[in-house]
């Protein structure tokens, strides 16, 4: 789960990581009021969106007075923000963070990810802050210093100091940066993060170490033990259908195509998307209804797919393992009793009680295109989608 920068900074404050003073605002007027309250003659106006690359899209602006803050706020709020990580249509900005401006002399990258191969969290630091770390990793991997740490213990003072020295910091600044790194590691472990980043961590003109930005993603699997974190979720940042699907407990990802897919199991769902693409079509979504799909889940999934106006064809691909194909067939027929099916429906059933399941579909009054095998299902779905579009 992703949270906003201002939420991550609030979390940072509770761990004594220094961040700029700031206030959130939802309108030009609120932004101006925030600036007046903060005072000073330099402000940052920052769009609060989950997508990265905000700066490139004009979502982060500097201002020198409350009037300029108001203008910057109005500009960001008035049009969708397009960044390298959003769709070409961009996303609407609802919230801004107005901060005191902090002129700085040096900037660094500090982040923690779970290193899957090492099976340990890895802290990464680089003297090349303020740019995308992926870019640095690709072009100058030697510019990134890594230190793994034990998730049961945290980042040791020695390791943190070594990293600070690797950034060519000394004295108080090294000590402050090391403290930030240790606190960051503590947050990562205590709050079950999947990613945490400060980009940039800066040394201000006044010589203080400060987290100018903050990014924090939580492990969805651990939210059950962090109720306060789950409450930070911003559904307006999520694709509407993805948010709805998560209420049903489905894994759903919106894609760009026109074939709505319903599959049981994540691997099979990915493979279904692959085979549709191989057959010359384009999936509208990835949807895993779970290995043990039952009639209720099938009905909910149909509602989701049929509510998507882009969907020109629905492809159901179920491998009945423990769940029986006749039960799935019953679920499909039940769902279609209450839902209006306006697009072609291709169904491929395989596995337990498949003969009975197929017979039930065939004998029903519903117009179902029956597919025999994985290939056949993809071909028929692609043909139906193209026919429907013509």
């Amino acid at each position: 789960m992703k949270i906003h920068e201002f939420q991550a900074k609030e979390l940072f404050r509770t761990y004594n990581i220094p961040v700029p003073r700031g206030k959130t605002a939802g309108s030009k007027e609120e932004a101006q009021a925030a600036a007046r309250e903060l005072g000073g003659d330099l402000f940052a106006v920052k769009a609060q969106v989950h997508a990265g690359g905000r700066g490139k899209g004009g979502g982060v602006r500097l201002a020198h007075s409350s009037e300029e803050v108001g203008e910057a706020a109005a500009a960001i709020l008035s049009a969708p923000l397009v960044t390298p990580q959003t769709t070409p249509g961009g996303i609407t900005v609802h919230t801004l963070l107005i901060e005191e401006g902090c002129p700085f002399e040096r900037q660094f990258y500090v982040g923690i990810v779970l290193d899957r191969a090492a099976e340990q969290p890895a802290m990464m630091v680089s003297a090349e802050g303020g740019v995308e770390i992926e870019e640095v990793a690709r072009e100058r991997p030697e510019a990134i210093r890594r230190a793994h740490f034990d998730a049961a213990v945290g980042l040791s003072a020695e390791a943190a100091r070594d990293l600070a020295h690797a950034l060519e910091l000394s004295g108080n600044q090294a000590a402050e940066a090391a403290a930030v790194m240790q606190a960051l590691a503590q947050i990562f472990v205590e709050r079950d993060c999947s990613l945490i980043e400060i980009n940039p961590l800066v040394v201000t003109r006044a010589g203080r170490v400060l987290a100018l930005d903050a990014k924090c993603n939580f492990d969805d699997n651990a939210l059950f033990r962090h109720g306060e974190q789950a409450a930070l979720r911003d559904r307006s940042e999520e694709d509407a259908r993805e948010a709805e699907a998560s209420d049903y407990g489905f894994s759903y990802v919106s894609l760009e195509g026109d074939i709505g897919c319903m599959v049981n199991g994540a691997g099979l769902a990915m493979a279904t998307n692959d085979i549709i693409t191989l057959a010359g079509g384009a999936p509208a979504n990835f949807l895993d209804v779970g290995g043990a799909a039952d009639p209720e889940r099938v009905t909910a999934a149909f509602k989701l797919l049929l509510g998507d106006e882009r969907v020109k064809t629905v492809l159901v691909n179920i491998f009945g393992g423990i769940v029986r194909c006749d039960v799935i067939a019953q679920g499909i027929l039940q769902a279609l009793e209450t839902l209006d099916l306006k697009v072609p429906l291709v169904v491929r059933l395989e596995g337990t009680n498949v003969t009975e399941g197929r017979r039930m579909l065939r004998e029903s009054q519903v117009a179902i295109i029956e597919a025999d095998g994985f290939h056949d299902a993809a071909d028929k779905a692609v043909a139906a989608a193209k026919g429907g579009a013509a």
């Binding site: 779970l114 099976e119 969290p121 033990r225 691997g267 099979l268 990915m270 095998g373």
Partner: protein, 290 residues
């Protein structure tokens, strides 16, 4: 022969609650020796004649087992894995889905330090089956048949697809293992391939990977170095968008790494036969078996 589990395997079920009971019935039906179960507060009772204990330790004091299967809910699953190891299980198969990643980081570190001989499969996996001899997990038993192909997969139903496609062509399996779809799991492709190499029944291996992480690349390096049996691979998620979790917590392209293209290139370089379509898993295996 097969690997890791066979007719002699004696299994403890950790978490013999409603879900555990359902799958225990199916395992027993398949012929698996389920010798005990745990369910907190139910020690001293039994389930269809299987004695139930409060803890794995208590079970170990009474019954001999060498393997455990974990159905304990996600919040307590990592703890249960350690409990199983402590009670003497040499192989632990964790079926539970949704275990926090850092729990697995800590549990695997503890296993390495305290129980280096204990092997872990999963979590978030369908389990392991040596067809005709032993089934531990939630896969449908009847699609399998004994034979020469070892199958390792990060996915559940896609594994069934691979098994089914082989069986339909008359190609049976030695041992099929779902290693799990999480970022941190127990045995990986590289831990399992050496066992298949040394297993005389296994003549070829089908690897079903997916986007995310670098397990497939590591497998490719191992295969190139020292695996001399034919390998077929399929990588799911060729068209997955970056930054999105495709169902499995581990199936995510992060920072431009873990793409299907990189994995396929590494495997192909190692001499692995790539199945381009998920509908050609069985036929590609048939091709390498000759």
């Amino acid at each position: 022969m097969s690997i890791l589990v066979g007719a002699e395997t004696r299994v403890l079920v950790q978490g013999l609650g409603r879900v555990g009971q359902f799958y225990t019935d199916l395992m027993v039906e398949y012929g698996t020796q389920i010798v005990a179960g745990t369910r907190p507060g139910k020690g001293g009772t039994d389930y269809h004649g299987i004695p139930i204990y409060d803890t794995a330790q208590a079970a170990a004091a009474d019954v001999a087992f060498n393997t455990s299967v974990v159905f304990v809910p996600a919040a307590a699953a990592a703890e249960a894995i350690l409990e199983g190891a402590e009670a003497g299980a040499r192989l632990i198969v964790a079926i539970t889905e949704g275990v926090p990643a850092l729990d697995m980081v800590r549990t695997k570190a503890a296993l390495r330090a305290r129980f280096p001989g204990t092997r872990l499969i999963g979590p978030n996996c369908p389990g392991i089956i040596s067809p005709g001899a032993c089934k531990i997990g939630i896969m449908p038993g009847y699609i399998h048949q004994p034979g020469p192909v070892g199958i390792i997969s990060r996915s559940g139903t896609l594994t069934y697809e691979g098994v089914h496609q082989c069986s339909v062509l008359g190609i049976g399996q030695s041992t099929c293992i779902g290693i799990g779809g999480d970022p941190v799991v127990g045995m990986s492709f590289t831990d399992l391939l050496p066992l298949y190499r040394d297993d005389p029944q296994t003549k070829a291996v089908l690897m079903i990977g997916e986007i995310g992480g670098s397990a497939e690349e590591e497998a490719a390096a191992y295969i190139r170095r020292e695996f001399d049996k034919p390998v077929v691979a399929f990588i799911a998620g060729r068209n997955a968008p970056p930054g999105k979790r495709m169902g499995h917590a581990g199936a995510i392209i992060a920072g431009g790494k873990g793409t299907a293209a990189e994995k396929i290139a590494a495997l192909r370089d190692a001499g692995v036969a790539i199945s381009n379509s998920p509908a050609e898993l069985g036929s590609t295996v048939a091709g390498v078996l000759g």
